[in-house]
Symmetry: C2
Subunit: 244 residues, 2 copies
Amino acid sequence: MTSPLTAAEVRRFRALHDKREREAQGLFVVEGEKVVTELSTDGPPWEALLVTADSGLATRPGARVIPAADMARISHFPTPSTAFGVLRLRREVLGPRELAQGRTLALDGVQDAGNVGTLLRIADWFGLDRVVMGQDCADLFSQKVINASMGSFSRLRVVTAPLAEALATVPATVPILGCDLHGEDIRRLPPLEHGVIVIGSEGRGLSPAVAARVTRRVTIPRFGKAESLNAAVAAGIVCAHFRR
Amino acid sequence: MTSPLTAAEVRRFRALHDKREREAQGLFVVEGEKVVTELSTDGPPWEALLVTADSGLATRPGARVIPAADMARISHFPTPSTAFGVLRLRREVLGPRELAQGRTLALDGVQDAGNVGTLLRIADWFGLDRVVMGQDCADLFSQKVINASMGSFSRLRVVTAPLAEALATVPATVPILGCDLHGEDIRRLPPLEHGVIVIGSEGRGLSPAVAARVTRRVTIPRFGKAESLNAAVAAGIVCAHFRR
């Protein structure tokens, strides 16, 4: 049975594009047949699961089949997808001694949403224990970050925190690694069980307050002439060494 | 002296957004103060170099200062930049035995322009000898590829070729490496002096004709649960191992 959205519902779901509206409603959107299907298996419960009749999820208990025209009205995609899930937004808080243990990826001012999502995939692939997002990063719950993370947002512990302050809680025995052009050759870095890898923004690198907390500067050797690597590519290479 | 664009010039420069127009005019655009300045030092000669009065290039011989309103009309950016360079488009052709020597990055159906540009930066950073782009990749001369490459397009040899046919010319002594989930552990791969790294599209991986040419399957070990890494991130990790 197809159940059209009311005008008020269309407005409410569409509004989730906007960060202030997400905060006000306490909800965010996951869109796309593949990722919604994946999250439906073992993921968090949906606040709403809206699908079109041609979705593989149309017969799933709890799914609400809506007309394709309604999906086009609320979709965050240029080409509307067949599945639109709404989840409760919950911001995780960093524990007082949490960064003393395990492997952390910390993002400092990474504003490109695609890069943030790609970085979450990397943290998930390499089984890091958490991602700390500084307050000037792209919003974790924006559609672009959620999409680019390919579901990794749901499998990872992601906390938002003032980054320089958070790094101040890291004990001296746990290295805080920052990537630049004049550090130790990453190829000589031993695998690390406990540590924080800090990634800065593409354009400006690390902020001074965060850079001051870095205890170990590492460098990916350059053989050619490019001025830099993309931030997510650099993070991937550092994580691969971290866990070799 | 500011020299406004004629209506015909505005049309001609704007049209370079479009691939068919680029081919017809034999020109493409590099935009942005930073990359245009970098290329002005030791790069190729500009067919046209259009700048606004506040550009650092305004006094450069050969630069034409145009009104900001004209720049806004031709700019490929949402926020118009201060420098718009036009270069002659030249497609390089693969030599008959070229893939037998050195290090090659080969792109199979990588349609995301940002990923293609990021891959060119990686090839440039790691000093690879060339990039071969299969015919179903994003257009090298599109604004998004050129921008994301951050100038690397001008320092690299990039050829477009039917990829499966090109790989058929690789001698048996030169490995063709493809990344998947069931290959050799990349950490055990020795550095390679001669070889081809093939990168597939994000969604579909390698095409069957190209996959059939791969002689060595390699895998980046996974420690967590992400289904895959971004294609450019994977390429960066493989190249870092390739050159360690």
